[in-house]
Symmetry: C3
Subunit: 202 residues, 3 copies
């Protein structure tokens, strides 16, 4: 039960809030909010586990994810004005969540013998798939397909993790440093308004 | 092959009809109707089995699901006026399907050692995920995210099942009674126009 | 490493192009293109493997799929005018891809002891599910639900494969001939503007 486990729960909590807020934009009911909150929070890890062949998938095996999600959806649903005021703090937590999810996904894939490039994909997928499912259920083209550096931050962080690992860095330090790298790249990309090139076909 | 197995097939049949009718609202072709009919009928159970780690997933292992779905799609596609006239009966069968799917999903999860709160989620998911995939494929925000008591009926029925089980009730009676509870809650919610609170963010 | 393996990679390559072009129609960014390219290419096989219980899913186990997809997305993203000029050739490759995916999916399901009708469904699913996920992520009703003979070609090819197999035809010849049958049916359906009947509910 090291620090990354509790960061994982924190990421789950914040992702569930983001799902509930998205449900609010479509005026969904409590069940819609719970459902979208859940899949936003556990969608990425679930897809990863199912494709690697880990079962039952991870969120089923610990009640902490369940409690974190129920708490997040409840608070957001019933105190939405309060939650909306905290958006700056939420952005930071969300970014921490992305970083943690990427490194957890990467390490889990590696621990199952998945080769490195695919393990990097699994790390990115862990971080981004929940938001993609959230937007798809909400009948929108996923936000991260056309705005912001987001998956790129995950990619660079995952590559740094592999590099530092090959250089023999202690795993705890490696986790901390690469999560921080992901956070910094994402914050920098917002600050300097960076985005990826687009493709346009008429 | 107890009664719940045949109720499961009946639920599959009715869910496939609901998928085909939804396909009709988008003027889809026969393949679209078959595909949406299939995923509406087997989507919930498939997601549950994949997350628990049951494989092959259940509908693959018995041809009865296949026959029920093909029959349901065929009848609805080619005799849609007849099927539409039966909507009241269909509503009842659909509600039976929801009840059966919830209790089957719950019991299956419990039998794989999943703990109770997550097993309840698996029960609800079995009942609702097919309809959610149906609406998503049809490019709509899922109906049950903003209308009707539906998942709530499943939740209450699942909790009653666990309660009665802990009180030592015979499993067959427990199945029958809790399915009936789900049906009655859903019918009452329609009759008295009950709905869950909504969240709205401008 | 017989011919069908390399046709599989070719199919993966062309499906990834089709995903990237779809991303272009929504003006997505590079990550959106990569993501949709990926799921279009590997979505069908992944769903099949997950439902049968093959894990890790097949694309995770060979780097060839990864290279084919990255190459396809890169070429399409940065040389889209060139790729668009090749649309006729792409259509042919796409059709080859559909044929190969169907037969691969069918054979894989059979090799895991899945019974024939369900194995046929697995073959069709391997061919069509990637495109369905592509359109759903792109916030469109899937194209193949309302246009063209497509799944029907897969179905007829799969049935021919089972027929020829029961007649004792050598497996390589059987693969070649049934893939060709799928290609010819699809081309004929475009040429003669064939489509399936539609269902319409007002």
């Amino acid at each position: 039960m090291d620090f990354i486990y509790w960061f994982d729960i924190l990421g789950t909590f914040v992702f569930a809030i983001s799902g509930t807020l998205a449900a609010g934009e479509k005026q969904l009911d409590l069940f819609g909010a719970v459902f979208i909150g859940f899949v936003t929070a556990i969608g990425g890890g679930t897809l990863r586990d199912v494709m690697i062949g880990v079962h039952p998938v991870s969120w089923i095996c610990s009640m902490d994810y369940f409690y974190a999600i129920v708490l997040a959806v409840g608070i957001t649903f019933f105190f939405k004005d309060f939650v909306l005021k905290l958006r700056h703090a939420l952005f930071l937590f969300d970014t921490i969540g992305i970083g943690v999810f990427t490194i957890i996904g990467l390490e889990k894939a590696l621990s199952y013998g998945i080769n490195m490039p695919i393990a990097v994909i699994m790390g990115i997928l862990t971080a981004v798939a929940g938001g993609i499912i959230r937007d798809t259920l909400n009948n929108e083209v996923p936000l991260i397909f056309h705005k912001e550096i987001y998956a790129t931050a995950c990619l660079l962080g995952a590559l740094c993790f592999l590099l530092f690992q090959s250089l023999g860095l202690n795993v705890i330090w490696n986790q901390l440093i690469t999560i921080l790298i992901i956070i910094l790249i994402r914050i920098a990309s917002i600050k300097y308004n960076l985005s990826l090139p687009h493709i346009e076909i008429k």
